[in-house]
């Protein structure tokens, strides 16, 4: 965030790709979004050098707020070494020349898709979410003019109709990701497709949370220490996912696990979805039931890979 002339590594782009006027426009949008927690603010989304659906909203926010001194971490489905994470990290190293990291605690700015890190974030960190569909009511009310009114007048009965349908068909609320939340006791908001396991982490989080939807051109935010409540019924309270086994590599419990298929004979295991959390625990000597296989299976530190 400075106006000093900067040239990217190859001298072609402005600092962090976007021109300064666009960044200012997005920062103004961000201020408005922070002032009204959970409210979707339209913004003039730009074309980014990647397809919609690959995080164009998140990248525009990151590009607008990143500074030379920031350290960036990018998460894709909890992992730092998957395609989306690797390419976005490389993008910002190239156009902004900033430090990148895989360690949650060292990052000042974290752009994420589909997860919140297991480690508690701090006031010195900002979490940027990539959002495919910012409107929580869109499957129930296709008219955008109408959904805006529903938000404006707090007419949110419809959201519970969806949860009602879940219970009546399946006996419980089966929405497991993109589980709607109420922010600051006012706006209903899509938390982006994070598992509902992560919903409780949004509440009273010390870090600033920003959400960018590139295709839909909407930005919204949760300021630090804001109330966030997952919707439910009195007699069917919100329940995050639980796993009955710990991570097979690091033995962590109370974390979100991914299933990994190991061969074509049905062998599989559950490991931490947050790859940095798992690596850190293994480095500290924690082991799970299949920890000895980790190196063979490619679960090795990825430093230097990108």
């Amino acid at each position: 965030m400075n106006s000093r002339a900067f040239h990217s590594v190859d001298g072609t782009y402005n600092f962090a790709y976007l021109d300064e006027q666009t960044k200012r426009m997005i920062r103004r949008t961000l201020l408005k979004a922070i002032a009204v927690p959970g409210y979707q603010v339209p913004f003039g989304g730009r074309e980014m050098p990647m397809a919609y659906g690959w995080g164009t909203g998140g990248i525009q926010i990151t590009a607008s707020i990143i500074g030379r001194d920031d350290t960036l971490k990018v998460i894709d489905q909890g992992a730092d070494d998957t395609t989306n994470a690797v390419s976005i990290r490389r993008f910002f190293r190239r156009v902004a020349g900033v430090q990148t990291t895989e360690e949650t605690s060292k990052a000042t700015l974290i752009q994420t898709r589909h997860r919140i890190p297991e480690k508690q974030l701090t006031e010195k960190q900002i979490l940027v979410y990539q959002v495919p569909q910012p409107e929580p009511l869109w499957k129930l009310e296709p008219r955008e003019v109408e959904t805006r009114k529903l938000h404006a007048y707090s007419e949110y009965g419809l959201m519970h109709v969806k949860l009602y349908e879940d219970i009546s068909r399946h006996g419980e609320i089966i929405t497991t990701y993109d589980y709607p939340v109420e922010v600051n006791a006012r706006h209903i908001m899509s938390p982006s497709p994070i598992p509902k396991f992560d919903n409780p982490k949004m509440a009273m989080m010390p870090a600033l949370q920003l959400f960018g939807a590139g295709r839909e051109k909407r930005i919204y935010a949760i300021p630090p220490y804001t109330r966030v409540r997952s919707l439910d019924f009195d007699d069917h309270p919100f329940k995050p996912q639980r796993f009955d086994k710990p991570c097979a590599l690091c033995g962590a419990e109370e974390v979100f696990l991914d299933e990994v298929i190991l061969d074509d004979k049905g062998d599989h295991m559950f490991v931490c979805s947050d790859s940095d959390h798992c690596r850190e625990r293994r480095a500290a000597g924690h082991t799970g039931s299949r920890a000895s296989d980790a190196a063979d299976m490619g679960f090795v530190p990825t430093e230097g890979l990108n």
Binding site: L140, E155, V161, Y164, E165, I167, F233
Partner: protein, 257 residues
Amino acid sequence: MNALLEAQSVGHSYAGGQLGCEDVSFRLYPGEVLGVVGESGSGKSTLLGCLSGMIEPSQGSVRFDAGGQGLRDVFSLSEPERRLLMRTDWGIVRQNPRDGLRMNVSAGGNVGERLMAVGARNYTEIRGEALDWLTRVEIPSGRIDDLPRTFSGGMQQRVQIARILVSKPRLVFMDEPTGGLDVSVQARLLDLLRGLVRDLGVAAVVVTHDLAVVRLLSDRLMVMRQGRVVESGLTDQVLDDPQHPYSQLLVSSVLQA
């Protein structure tokens, strides 16, 4: 007794000067059913739109007594107030149940929506209430989780009625409630509607071109033609002894079975 709804010289012209309705005045009292009949294009639906807050009339005023606060102009209410009115004190039964129902939501969800809209958050209670209302409109309880699209036209119409009555409205607008249904289904639906309206004491404005509907349902009747009310009075009086030539024509054109 105080009037529930009052229309004063209500008139509406569409852009381009096309006349919808003109100079319609009446008072509706709690528990009373008013029938509006007339041929296609006589301004019935425009009038209903004006009365139910959907179309702002270009002349006159529509006033409603929301919860004993005295008569207030419907169009001077703020939009959120009017919308709240529409999902609590009012109900609109549409001719085509597809317009009044959420077709991708189960029958139970459809009926429960208004309860959730005013803050009900207990699943068991919402479901109990939905089941109760579906039973009252003669939908088998085993079909509570089925989508409306799997229902027949008559059943869809009954689900729509349950969806509205669940919030115990004081005023229901019905636009051709039996249109598109075959005669035996029509008869059962009318019988049901008459029972419900009497039991609950809701007031209703029923717009239809079908004289049998108003004969069964309504206490008072207005006959409309070319946007104007040509005759009004007690239903039996108007139907058995029509005074205006158009009313006479309307009554005489019904085949006597």
